[in-house]
Amino acid sequence: MSPRRELEPEFASYYGRPILKEPTWEARDIAGYLFAGGLAGASSAIAAAAQLTGRPALARVSRIGAVGGLGFSVVALVHDLGRPARFVNMLRVAKPTSPMSVGSWLLAGYGPLAGAALLSDLTGIARPAGYAAGVGAGVLGAGVATYTSALFADTAVPAWHEGRHELPFLFAGSAVCAASGFALIGSPTAQVAPLRTLAVGGAALELSMSARMPRSAGLAGETFGLGRAGALMRSARVATAVGALGAGVLGGRSRAVAAASGLALLAGSALTRFGIFEAGRLSTQDPKYVVVPQRERLAQQDREAATVG
C-alpha cells in the first residue's frame, strides 16, 4: 500500500447545504443532562451496594450525588423544552419506540425512590422503607444511566446512530466514573476501597469504547476527532485516565489524592458527554456524512444483487 492519503470521495449536494437539521438541543442542557443523569443513576447503584455492605457514610454521599444529579437533570430537561410549561405531556403516553418516553417514565419511577432514600437517610424516618427505596433506585438507576445511549443512537444524526454499538457501554462507563468520582470526594478514606476498583473498571470501559467508536462509526466517526468535539474527547480521555490512575494507585492512602482523582473522573465524564454531543452536531452540518455512507451502502447492495443475480 502506498502511504498516499486517500482522496476525499466526491459527492453531490445542494449548494453544500446540510441535509439534516442540527439538534435543537442546547449542549449545556442535554450534554449536561447526560452527565448528571449518569452521575445520579450510578450513584444510586453505589449507594445501594454501600448500604448492603455496611458503608453508611459512602451510602449517604452517593445518595446526595444521586439527588443532586437528578435535580440538575430535571431542571435541564424542562429548561430545554420549547414549551417548558408542557413538560408534563411527557407522561401523556408510554411509547417503547421513543427512548425519550421510556426515559421519562424511568425518571418518574426513579426520582421519588432516590429522593425517599436520601430523605430517610438524613432524617432517620422509616429506615427499612428508605433502604428498600434505595435498592429500587439503584436498579432503576442503571437504566437512567444508560437509556440515554438509545436516545442518542435512535436519531438520524450520523455520529450518534453509527456509534450505537459502543454508546451504551461508553455511557455506562462514563456514569460509573462520575459516580465513583463524586463519592471519592465526599467519603472517608476507610470506606472508599470498592470505589477504587469501580473507578478503574469504569474508566477502562469508557476509554476502550471511546477509542473504538470513531473506528466503528464509519465516515462520521471522524467527527469525534474534529474541532471542538476532538478537543473535548481528547481532554476527556486525559482526565479520565488521570483520575482512574490516581484513584486506583494512591486513592486509598490520601484523602486529598482521592478527592483530586474524583474531580478528574467527574471532569472526564462530563467532557466525554459534551464531546459526543458536539461530534453529533458536527456530523449533521456537513452533508457528506449523509451522502457518502448512504451511497456506499447502495453500491454495496448493487454489488450483492449482481452476485446473486
Binding site: 439534516l20 437539521k21 447503584a45 449533521t284 452533508p287
Partner: protein, 266 residues
C-alpha cells in the same frame, strides 16, 4: 414490516419535477392557507432559491439547480440545464418523527399522513434529530415543531392540498397513493422512451429504508443533487438492538458495582 390497514385509501403527493417551472406558487399557497409566518427575504445567490430548504416556516421548498451540460452540437460548448423541484415532508410509511415523539403529539391520520398536534407538542425537539430528511423543524420564537400537514383540514373536507391546487403545471399531484405510484411508473417509462434516461422515482418503493414515502418524486438527477438523502432509513428499525445493548450495559454497570463491593477489603 407490517402494513397498517387504514380502512380507506392512503393519500399522497406525486411531485413530477420534469414539469416544474419554478414558479413557487406551491410555497406561497402553502404559507397562505396554513398561515405560516413570513421570513425576511434573504438573497442567497443560489440560483432563484432564496428559501434554501424546508423549515418550520417553509413547508414547501422549490429547489433550483443550474446543471452544466454539453450544448447541442459537437463543438464542445457548454450549456445550462435547469432542474427544479418542489420538496415537501415525505409522510413516511415508517416515520421516525412519529416513532420517537414522546408526547404522542405526532400522529398518523386516517389518510396515512403524519401530522403534529400543535396543542400537545412540548418542543422537546427529538423528532428534529430523528428525521432522516431534515424536514421537521422547531420554530424558535414559538418552541414547538412544525411541518407539512398535507393540508389535513382541506383533505378532510374532500379538497386537495393548497400546493397541489395552486400548481399550474400539475407538477404536484395529490391523490390515492396506489394510483399515483402506477401513474408515476408509466410516466417514467414514457420519459425513458423519449430518451430521458436520467428520470427516476424517489420514495416510491415500499422496500426502501422508510417503507416508501407518502410524498414521492420523479427526479432527473441523483437525489443528493436536490438536497435529498440517497438512501434514508428510519433509525427506529435498529431500536430493538439498541435496547438490547442498553440492557446489557445497564446489567454490566450493576454487575461492576456488585463485584467491586463484594470483593473489597474491609
Amino acid at each position: 414490516m407490517t402494513k397498517v390497514d387504514l380502512g380507506m385509501p392512503r393519500m399522497g403527493f406525486f411531485t413530477d419535477t420534469t414539469v416544474c417551472i419554478g414558479c413557487k406558487a406551491c410555497e406561497v399557497a402553502c404559507k397562505e392557507w396554513n398561515a405560516v409566518p413570513a421570513k425576511p427575504l434573504n438573497l442567497t445567490g443560489e440560483s432563484f432559491d432564496n428559501t434554501s430548504g424546508l423549515t418550520a416556516d417553509s413547508w414547501r421548498h422549490v429547489a433550483f439547480i443550474e446543471k452544466t451540460v454539453p450544448a447541442p452540437g459537437d463543438d464542445g460548448a457548454k450549456d445550462v440545464k435547469w432542474l427544479m423541484s418542489s420538496d415537501v415532508c415525505k409522510h413516511c410509511t415508517h416515520a421516525a418523527c412519529l416513532d420517537v415523539c414522546p408526547t404522542g403529539s405526532l400522529f398518523r391520520t386516517e389518510f396515512g399522513t403524519v401530522v403534529v398536534q400543535q396543542d400537545i407538542c412540548n418542543g422537546c425537539g427529538y423528532c428534529v434529530s430523528a428525521c432522516p430528511y431534515g424536514v421537521i423543524d422547531q420554530r424558535e420564537d414559538d418552541g414547538r415543531v412544525f411541518k407539512c400537514t398535507m393540508c389535513y383540514d382541506r383533505i378532510g373536507d374532500g379538497g386537495e392540498p393548497a400546493c397541489a391546487k395552486a400548481c399550474p403545471t400539475d407538477s404536484i399531484q395529490y391523490g390515492e397513493l396506489d394510483l399515483l405510484r402506477d401513474k408515476a411508473s408509466r410516466r417514467v417509462a414514457e420519459l425513458h422512451a423519449q430518451g430521458l434516461t436520467d428520470a427516476r422515482l424517489y420514495g416510491q418503493s415500499p422496500d426502501d429504508g422508510v417503507g416508501g414515502t407518502g410524498a414521492f418524486f420523479l427526479l432527473l438527477d441523483e437525489p443528493e443533487t436536490y438536497g435529498l438523502p440517497p438512501d434514508p432509513v428510519v433509525t427506529t428499525r435498529d431500536l430493538p438492538g439498541m435496547w438490547r445493548r442498553t440492557a446489557v450495559a445497564a446489567a454490566t454497570l450493576l454487575a461492576g458495582v456488585a463485584v467491586s463491593f463484594a470483593g473489597a477489603r474491609r
